[in-house]
Amino acid sequence: MSETKEAMNKPRTDKPIQPAENDNIITIIGMHKWFGEFHVLKDINLEVKARERIVVCGPSGSGKSTMIRCINRLEEHQRGRIIVNGIELSKNLKNIEKIREEVGMVFQHFNLFPHLTIIENLTLGPLWVRKMPLKEARELAMYYLEKVHIAEQAEKYPGQLSGGQQQRVAIARSLCMKPKVMLFDEPTSALDPEMVKEVLDVMISLAHEGMTMIVVTHEMGFAKSVAHRVLFMDEGRIVEENTPDEFFDHPQHERTKLFLSQILH
């Protein structure tokens, strides 16, 4: 049976790995960001513990993507503090690179490197950032390719794969860096409906292994079955934050109720 279905039917108490009690892997304090004059993020405060899984949802333009992109400095925040794995994000390039080594990111449009084969896409980070020997890097890459069920495509180019396969490769590429946190920026939004499941399956199995994840998504089934916490964002603020049960069954805020009524029909 499909892993998705199974996982979704499981009661939440079953969640195999619970978040750590104390050590925050990500701490965001009073973070603001502007695009020019436009105030996209307003006073964001967030603590993420190791092995915690957070789903971020909200209408488009609410700043959810921008928020997770600030965590590995694809966007620069202008006020407040972001501390990742004990390192504070600042203009210091060395710190930024150190943080990026520990934070994996999966994009809506996969962003694989089209001029490299799948295996080359995966080994790039280990070879050049981790300075791993080629043989070891290839073994690592094959290990993760098998994990996302795509090992037989290793020598192909990204353009030869379907969207779902490409996204699974992108996940494997991030995993090859052995990240402490994985950020997912609408990983299934650009996929054909038939391919959403194969990507969610990979993400669910990742969750079962205890990966710390922040996922921006509209897949509410995924949120219900996998998340420890759901954040709802609107107009640059975190409006509501709750366990999935409470969030979906008893939304507090009017804005949240409206949003849920629109997406759950």
Binding site: M105, N111, S174, M177
Partner: protein, 364 residues
């Protein structure tokens, strides 16, 4: 509600055949409408007017190894002008007894170019081979050590000079252009403005004036007694000029790169140099192969402008041959010959670029 029968597999159904033999092809492509038929007939008439007389002039009535006097009497092409002056056209004022040296150097160059054409051979050893080859070529051309008589570079000319200026010019201008393009995209305002000023100034000036500056004005600034070889000065002007154009083309390629590629590279933790070298440049340079090759081809042909600072490149040696009273009046033949040499070189570049594009294409 409807459920369709999908058991039929249509295995015997072939695509419809349109072309039926030569007649069918002619009818479909050359005589399918009245105006196409008219154009076809007109074009055939033009071909009939031009081709047979040309063949008659170039091949049937022509002289290949005669004296100039015989040529003047006949109406056909006088290829004898090439035959009689080939050494001067190709080698210029290089001492005739030593002309085997530039010839050998050119053969080495062609061999290296042919080997480099195949990407299978691209490795560190090829770079060493090129360096060794360039040293040997330089030694052959210049001499002075290991038993070869020294030949001053003022005596270099003809095809070896054209090839020297082009090969070094293109080989140096390309990486310089890439660096300039990266500079123009730099986040550091100083680097960005300096490259913009450089590129805009060089592009705003014709190559001829750069060559003049390098030949006449530049030496005025040098301290007394210091002279820089004229060929090197011309070479520098060509490199500077071509690099500015390459830079703009490469910038176009860089701008065509989706932002996601930079972000993906960033998120893996690659630094700027790694991102450029491994992700951005391989893709951007591939996109701009066609316009880059256009620039390199036109730079190759522009080396003929060095005549204006009195360097005897291939075109100039040919012109000089024509000023010999014995061979006056056969400029058509001489220029056709030079055009052929230029064409072969340019065609080599253009086929190679197409081959490279095909090999680098990954969306099969």
């Amino acid at each position: 509600m409807a459920v369709y029968d999908i058991t039929e597999d249509y295995q015997d159904l072939k695509p419809p055949v349109i072309n039926t033999g030569v007649i069918g092809w002619l009818r479909n492509n050359l005589f399918n409408t009245w105006y196409n038929s008219l154009l076809t007939l007109l074009f055939l008439y033009l071909l009939w007017m031009v081709v047979p007389p040309f063949i008659r002039w170039a091949l049937i009535d022509s002289h290949w190894a005669s004296t100039s006097a015989e040529c003047h009497q006949s109406g056909g092409a006088c290829w004898s002008i090439i035959h009689a002056n080939i050494r001067f056209i190709i080698f210029g004022f290089y001492p005739p007894a030593e002309q085997w040296r530039p010839l050998t150097a050119m053969i080495i160059l062609f061999a290296l170019l042919m080997v480099s054409r195949n990407r299978k051979w691209w490795s560190r050893y090829l770079i060493f081979t090129w360096i060794a080859g360039l040293v040997v070529m330089g030694w052959l051309m210049k001499g002075g050590i290991f038993g070869l008589t020294a030949i001053d570079s003022s005596q270099w000319g003809g095809l070896p000079l054209t090839l020297t200026l082009s090969v070094f010019g293109l080989a140096a201008a390309y990486p310089l252009g890439v660096i300039l393009a990266l500079g123009r995209q730099s986040k550091l305002p100083v680097i960005r403005s300096l490259t913009i000023i450089y590129i805009e100034m060089i592009r705003g000036v014709p190559l001829i004036s750069l060559l003049f500056m390098s030949a006449i004005i530049f030496p005025l600034f040098l301290p007394e007694g210091v002279t820089i070889n004229k060929i090197i000065r011309a070479q520098a002007a060509i490199i500077m000029f071509t690099a500015a154009y390459v830079a703009e083309v490469v910038r176009g390629g860089l701008q065509a790169m989706p932002k996601g590629q930079y972000e993906a590279a960033d998120s893996i933790g690659l630094n700027y140099v790694q991102t450029m070298r491994l992700i951005i440049l391989p893709q951007a340079l591939k996109i701009v192969i066609p316009p880059t090759v256009s620039i390199l081809i036109s730079a190759f042909k522009d080396t003929s402008l060095v005549v204006i600072i009195a360097l005897y490149d291939l075109l100039k040696t040919t012109q000089s041959t024509l000023s010999n009273p014995k061979w006056m009046g056969f400029s058509t033949e001489a220029y056709l010959f030079v055009a052929l040499i230029y064409f072969i070189c340019c065609y080599f570049m253009s086929t190679w670029s197409r081959k490279l594009e095909k090999e680098l294409s990954t969306d099969r």
